[in-house]
Amino acid sequence: MNSSYAVPAVALVVVATVLVGAFGLRISRTTSDFYVASRTVGPRLNAAAISGEYLSAASFLGIAGLVLVQGPDMLWYPVGYTAGYLVLLLFVAAPLRRSGAYTLPDFAEARLASHAVRRLAGAFVVGVGWLYLLPQLQGAGLTLTVLTGAPDSLGGLIVAVVVVATVAAGGMRSITFVQAFQYWLKLTALLVPALFLVLAWQSDGAPRQAFEEPATFREQRAVRVDDTLDLKLDHPLTLTVNGTVDGRRYDAVKLQLPTGTHHIERGTRLTFAKGATVPVADRGTNGGMSTSLAASREERPLYATYGLILATFLGTMGLPHVVVRFYTSPHGVAARRTTVAVLGLIGAFYLLPPVYGALGRLYTPELTLTGDADAAVLLLPDRMIGGVGGDLLGALVAGGAFAAFLSTASGLTMAVAGVLTQDVLPSRGVRHFRLGTVLAMVVPLAASVLVGGLPVADAVGLAFAVSASSFCPLLVLGIWWTRLTPPGAAAGMLVGGGSAFVAVAATMAGFPGTGSLHALLAWPALWSVPLGFLTMVLVSLATPGRVPTGTAAILARFHLPEELRAEVKA
């Protein structure tokens, strides 16, 4: 792919982000705009900011990649990511805002008046934040590799450095404007190329066999296998091989592989003829984790789907960077309106990635072999349109992808750094916030260099699972149940979130189990969320003496509209 446009586009996005962050403050010099400058953020601006922060690499690249590899089943991802806000709207948004909490630990303290529970919630915020940052950095690495052929970890490093530099230097002085800007940038970066791509698809005769099994190559295509893999063939396949297949070395030899499994060494070039079916890669044998989730999904499709739905529906409310943004709403009603607007904005956005996924299945089916399916969004403009136009559109998409990494990563870093400075590092202050920023970024950066290769949407799904099993019970029960006690909340978070965390760690470590056990570990939400709720309820019921004093007053404050409260006090 031609990088002469893409690199400047990425650089432009980075510079624009920094500039908006540094100078986007409301400044008033005359009498008249004093009022404007001190006006609180309206629901629409805040909704754009929340959406901008929320739409991460998983949304921008990951969903299209998953749809490409696994077909329309994966549409549950965008549905889940969006529907999470519906749950948030119904149960959490307004009471959370009225609680006055800035972060989740704040909420735990406001509701339960317990420092221990606050600490625990802080630990989980950091854990979820790190889990969520990991795929952002990986996605950045992938994008840069696809664009310029740079080493895998460079993109992640760039994002990490840019985010830490701007956040730590106090450059994100106006994160609301930055994030709102990023949302519209991301929407444009997907929408405009999508229009052109659909036009190109139309002029191509509008082929419709996108989801027919199996996918076929529409033209002669050479594929370089970067990671050793096993090909499962249902039919004999004719192709040209330049490299090692089944332990034998070929040099540009045309051969027919019989039905069965074939072992392809890394570095092999396979050239498929036009109309050839795309073989299915079976990567489960090489110890990587990229296919472990997919494998269990194939084995237990219903269970995996429900696990995904539960995790995304209930996990959104526990994402540290999302919760923090609700503080910007001036009151509970505005928080609710904001959530409705967010539903609209991200709903509109999520219409686009599946289009890329479907087109990718038609025009870049070989990505299923190379394991870089997440790159489909980046490659499509060049593949379908080509020329300068394709390059420009590709540059636009690349810029949008970097906006996605930057916005989510900076939001997460700020949230995690805030918790680290407040609850972990010994004393507070601006300098410690900088230290916290560095700490918040270094851990996932190191992990992304170590791990590598988990599909971004899957990795994000794991973060959602942990969040759903720890914070969802805390928030929902904390807001709606009077008998919640600090020991109950702590036990529920530890058991639900802890077990989900262990399952995630086992999955990431490539736990060799197969079948049911593996599916259980790869999609923990379906058992860990009920487990978290159950533990929280049972332990709370077992410790009735520990219900915090003033619970009734606190819940009244959560649920009463602000006007009423003011009148009651007056």
Partner: protein, 405 residues
């Protein structure tokens, strides 16, 4: 393989954290064990138990605090049962023999009246109940009896009477401290109320004079200013809630500045830089307006002589993680740092400057001593006041109305 390694790291991290936490937990207790002779050790143990019982009692005598301290106190006295009462009922009963509650309250009427301790025999029909004697020691604060500490034992013992008396006296001291805490809080609350009503009389006088000067020449302007004045006073006098939001406080400052500008015209220029995400931050009512008033006064003081001298004031509110950073800066006469230090310490009361030290006191009271005002100034070099406001603080809730969008 690298995936496996990384996963291992992920799995080991929480274990490490748990180990670290456990280590810290246990280390604290271990440190008691290795010290000195058995007598010294016993002394440490006693002091340690006493210190553990103190924190709950410092919040006053309620059912919750009594329950949490009763267990420690019973360990201290080494009796089978211990109960804490107030004037009317048993607040907490620790140990066996819960069925004596009613009886004890009956027998307490005397000691609670006189404030003198006594020991009496319990009548009990339960055959397996070992409690036969109760020792009563009243809890007094400022010579008024607040409640009693009752220790129950199988037999009469002079040692127990003596010990119960001592423990009761110690508990009384804690309760007196709690009382002191309360009166300190009340004092601060009274101070907040005092400051709230205290928009400076000069300001009212000057504003009305300015408005009067416009009534003939520019009635429309006069009407606007009168409305600004009304808005500002309504905000200052409002009664609900001790806290407000940064947005509301800035609006009040806007009204205030409009009146000041009417008086000084072009000589005063104000720049405002606000990060919109910190506007919902809750903060003590009227704690920035005095700072702005101070800046206006200092800014214009030195330049009164030359009418052309302009004064610049800038107000910035930044987002800094879990805190908001509010900076108010003027380029006026400044102040001698030593004098300022004495003002803030309350040693001298300056002519018009109750503002600064009161705001400082209130911020420290609400957010803790780390959050006092930071003031950078020198004579002739202007003044820069920085206030750090945490976005969330337990107990700080603004009572803002969602009337404006």
């Amino acid at each position: 393989m690298s995936g496996f390694l990384a996963g291992l790291c992920v799995a080991v991290l929480p274990l490490l954290a748990a180990g670290f936490w456990l280590g810290r937990r246990t280390a604290r207790h271990e440190s008691l064990g290795g010290l000195g002779t058995p007598v010294e050790h016993a002394t440490f143990q006693t002091l340690h138990t006493a210190s553990l019982a103190a924190p709950p009692l410092r919040a006053g005598l309620t059912e919750e605090t009594a329950r949490r301290s009763a267990r420690r106190l019973r360990t201290l006295l080494g009796t089978d049962a211990l109960c804490l009462t107030d004037q009317k009922q048993v607040l907490a009963w620790d140990g066996i023999g819960d069925h004596h509650r009613a009886e004890i309250m009956e027998r307490l009427a005397g000691p609670l009246e006189t404030g003198r301790g006594e020991a009496f025999r319990l009548t009990c029909y339960a055959p397996d109940c070992p409690l036969r004697w109760a020792v009563v020691a009243p809890l007094t604060v400022d010579d008024r009896v607040h409640g009693a500490l009752v220790a129950c034992a199988p037999r009469e013992s002079a040692v127990l009477v003596r010990a119960a008396g001592e423990v009761a006296r110690w508990v009384s001291v804690q309760l007196e401290l709690a009382d002191l805490d309360q009166s300190r809080t009340r004092l601060i609350e009274a101070e907040i109320k005092a400051l709230r009503a205290q928009i400076s009389p000069h300001f009212i006088f000057n504003s009305l004079a300015v408005i009067a000067s416009f009534v003939r020449t520019d009635p429309e302007r006069a009407r606007e200013l009168l409305l600004e004045f009304a808005d500002f006073t309504r905000y200052s006098f409002r009664r609900h809630g001790d806290f407000t939001t940064l947005a509301d406080e800035l609006h009040a400052i806007d009204h205030y500045l409009a009146l000041v500008r009417a008086r000084f015209g072009e000589r005063l220029s104000v720049t405002l830089q606000i990060a919109p995400e910190v506007l919902p931050v809750a903060l003590p009512f009227l704690c920035l307006q005095p700072l702005v008033e101070n800046a206006v006064k200092h800014g214009l003081e030195g330049k009164a002589a030359s009418a052309a001298g302009k004064s610049r004031i800038s107000i910035t509110a930044q987002d800094a993680g879990a805190e908001a950073l509010v900076v108010i800066e003027d380029d006026g006469t400044g102040m001698d740092p030593d004098l300022l230090r004495r003002i803030l310490a309350g040693e001298v009361s300056p002519s018009g400057g109750i503002g600064l030290s009161n705001v400082d006191d209130r911020l420290r009271q609400v957010y803790g001593d780390d959050y006092g005002l930071v003031i950078e100034t020198a004579v002739g070099a202007g003044m820069k006041i920085t206030a750090r406001l945490p976005k969330y603080q337990p107990g700080v809730h603004s009572a803002s109305r969602p009337s404006e969008e």
